[in-house]
Symmetry: D2
Subunit: 341 residues, 4 copies
């Protein structure tokens, strides 16, 4: 627990696209925190981000942040393969940890990081920002509040406007680990129950190069939760109409659906049809507010002594699910998460 | 009151488009009535309509219907300029009267017909079918049921997909009498209060030939009701996107809106936009069910001894409003209905 | 091929709920056909239906229909366990066959009936009426017309407002054969490709008595089509908000969705929320027009010499899928249709 | 024209609710400008706002801003009765002027201020922020781009969730000047044509105290534009369902509508109805982005030497319309703007 009457002092590690976004949110939207230092492997990036946001210190070495007494917490936005090491170092230095998703694609390494966090007793939160989207959060409240009764069937539709560069695909860990992981987390978050079994199908429908890289680009996954709820996740790397992010939950007392978000509310009727513009194009537009929300929640968790709303243990689960989905697709059979670990 | 255990026996006068529609509805949808005879100035039309609907008798002379003892009521679907005479004859013969709108464009003649109906003590209903549209009827129920509190503001949007032939426009009595008359009736029906004052503006925006014929094709009319509610009617003879039939009422407790109706419920998202098809094209598609509903209500009114849900007195009011609107537009000033009569 | 200038002469076998519906549609909406005779195991039912629809003959024995020379086709609406025998008899008598779904739950018996139809060279159509729903037909046109490119992912949501009586459940053949069968047909119809593999999950969520009867009430099924499209079917025996009948297809060029249908188009905003009424309650309301459409298509197929738009061979497929789904659920593994036959 | 490579240096006059909003937007969202000084009649307010936004100087006297050489422009957010004097002083000091609406309720005083601005040759923009709302801006683009052809009929629905305190109502200048003024500006902005005539009706429907204060709370206004377009404005001081801000324009080539904005995109179906939450509650939520947009446009106008997208001359027009509406209502007749001046 920190002194909530003074702003939480944060060091930002990684000043790439997401790091910059967090820096700006901390400056403008989150008076309850203050950025003290920014580090990035690129000194130019660190300096620019610090200048733009009025942050007094910058460096290329994240350990300088950990050494500062005027830093309470770190926000880790560096490449995924650096997460575990930084988490362990930060925990050892007694700093609270906000870390972008995924912690790591390797369960053993995740477990090491989580053990370090537990030993240090610091608060840890992982960046599954979509939980903080106003619509998905509303669905969660409908479920916890009993507005739709007992959930029977969940559907998550999540499609990107276009695939990432093929170079990225090759190192992404595969669509289940890279893209579906958000939906795996959304599934456990919304239903509030553990997934026990995964059955994954999929193919290469968007770009043969993705198949040549050993990956899939269009997948449909069936989930079974412990309590009997079933779920379906539909993913595709390319929806020509833009970013498709919808959820629907059906239960004994009703259903709740979240539609896509649009750049404006206009509808135009002409001699051909009745139409509106395409949805907000991609995640930085659609999830603008959810990035603010997750950081606000982290700050509050630190101030109140936790627990964090997206704990390391919770963030481990989607990685297990991704591994199970990969195996399920390979062997074309339902795979229980207990097979994975 | 008639014997409701046996079907109401109806004679149809006029076998044009609307007459045929009523004949088919009586045959298929209204077992509580039976068509006994059909007349039309064209013998071929009368014969064809009778044959198609299994009606035993036909003629070119509507008086033959009035002479039959096995006819309880007439449905008058002949040209407007014949309405008053037929109503008066039918009433004198003791037949209940269903008459298409408008009774007549002349108030004196209307009053003559209404007096004849009153003397005869028969039930009379005028064909303002839109009152029986499921959506508009739902709005009326919301108002009478207090679901939106006291109505403050009414808006009726009513646009045709295209203007009628210019020959028709010339004899139509003008847009207020021919087109707005439906909306004038809708206004008094929905709010359940009398309009006291009308202010009408308009112009020729669709086709100069309409202006040369002395008419308007695009009008906006402001209504004041006795109880202080105000209303707006928007009309146009051509909406390129099809038949535009919407209503909205705002009140102290909320608002209720009726949207257009569509041929199906699909929405298509492609690389350009998110769209649906155009609304149902015109009145025979949009108001299919309301024609059944009005005739069912007439049959029931006869069976129960009335009153009819669209009395002659009520049907007189939109004619007064049309005359007031014409005068208001000519003199560019609000006109009280009491000026008209 | 029959003489399309004269109405198709039909005998109706079975005057229960669906039989009566077809009788009324034939009388009112389908002048291109004429009901000649009605039979039902209950003489009272046959007589009443004949009287209501002006049909000259009725009987308790369907073979009387088959013996008539003035009958071109039969519409079989009797209980499922009578279908095969009547089809075989009708085909032997040279009558074209419209038969309600399913033909039979037993593949061997279906094959016998189809062989009889093939030998006789008559037209046969099975009553998968939902194909003729305006919205689902629009989706099919979008797919055949290339409006959404190559289909990648299909989703069918189909939930009833409430379960049938438990007595019915016990003899229904199970949810896959009784309820999902419509969706299995919809899947093959919309995508226009063969399903190769089925994976079915499900549980008892609505009523324990359904489980005690050996059935499921809530199922989610994953389909794989030959061409790589995947599909998901969501079923439940009870949706508290009413009949939930939606479809969505996502493809390389876009997506198309069909929403539920509502009794009117109004939306009401009050101090609590913005709301509309619940969807049309059940299939007789929602699919009113599709029953007309399927019969119109059958009449036309006979007139043009076929083929029927829902052939017996096509109607066999959903039965195979239902059997595969049952096996898949029992063994919790994907089942290829080729395992079933 | 200023040096667009360096941020525009702005002094903020008035640190009330809107002033604080602009200060925060300038700090966080508008790197192309920089707040140099803040003044407010309340020293505490000025100090707090300066501290919160890292602004180096504050004072109770706006003239200190005008004396600074490091200030290019002022943003006037002080009470309306101070606008004219500050505009004149700022213009005399060569400062560009952003001023909240309305400039002043008195046309003579407005003309004095505009003359001062013209003499000084500075850029002036008035805070009709709704023009910068994404939906209304989209409608404007549809009109200028010919997407709906020639506009025939405009409708603006603008209702507040609740009336302001009665003390405010008494000094507000009346509903036309205080509330409708936004819609008057929207009308001229969207149609891009001059209104020539106004007919206003209205009453006291929300709170008798508003009537006792000599004001109306529910008004409907009909506008005629020079080119023949007509418009309707519907206002009410209280909509129980929240802030109702919609626009619809119908033209020869189609129509475009802007719906309300909602806090999320979810729809919930339960056993009673299908519903969503109420719209965003009030203007700070609904028009958040339009406040940023208008300030961005002002900064850009100064950088490019103007003209401003909401000039003083344009901002004068809604005041004329409000005066005409007041007269129209008093005398119950259409009033031409040329009567007012």
């Amino acid at each position: 627990m920190s002194d909530s009457s003074s702003p939480l002092r944060i060091g930002l590690i990684g000043a790439g696209r997401i790091g910059q976004l967090h820096a700006e949110n901390l400056r403008c939207r989150l008076p309850e925190a203050r950025l003290v230092m920014i580090t990035d492997a690129s000194e130019a990036a660190a300096r620019a981000c610090a200048a733009r946001n009025g942050v007094p210190h910058f460096s290329t070495d994240y350990r300088e942040i950990l050494q500062r007494h005027d830093v309470d917490a770190v926000a880790i936005c560096s490449p995924t393969d650096t997460h575990v090491r930084i988490i362990e170092d930060a925990a050892a230095a007694g700093k609270h940890v906000f870390c972008e998703k995924p912690i790591d694609p390797d369960l053993g390494r995740i477990d090491g990081a989580l053990a370090a966090v537990a030993r240090a007793g610091v608060v840890m939160q992982v960046g599954f920002n979509r939980r903080f989207d106003a619509s998905f959060a509303r669905i969660r409240r409908a479920i916890t509040g009993g507005e739709i009764g007992i959930p029977h069937q969940l559907r998550i539709t999540s499609r990107d406007p276009g695939p990432p560069p093929i170079e990225y695909v090759r190192v992404s860990g595969g669509i289940f680990m890279d893209m579906t992981i958000h939906d795996f987390d959304m599934a456990q978050f919304l239903i509030g129950d553990a997934v026990e079994e995964v059955y994954a199908t999929g193919g290469v429908r968007v770009d043969p190069a993705i198949g040549e890289a050993g990956d899939l680009d269009t997948v449909t996954i069936l989930l079974k939760f412990r309590g009997g709820t079933t779920g379906v996740i539909e993913n595709c790397r390319r929806a020509v109409y833009g970013y498709d992010q919808r959820v629907e939950v059906f239960g004994s007392g009703g259903k709740i659906e979240a539609e896509n978000q649009y750049p404006n509310t206009t509808t135009l009727s002409d001699g051909r049809n009745v139409h509106r513009e395409l949805p907000l194009h991609f995640f930085l537009d659609r999830y603008t507010e959810s990035y603010v929300g997750e950081m606000r929640a982290f700050i509050q968790a630190v101030h109140t002594g936790g627990p964090s709303p997206v704990s390391g243990e919770q963030a481990r689960v989607p990685v297990v699910m991704a591994l199970a989905a990969r195996l399920s697709h390979r062997e074309n059979r339902p795979v229980r998460l207990s097979e994975i670990g």
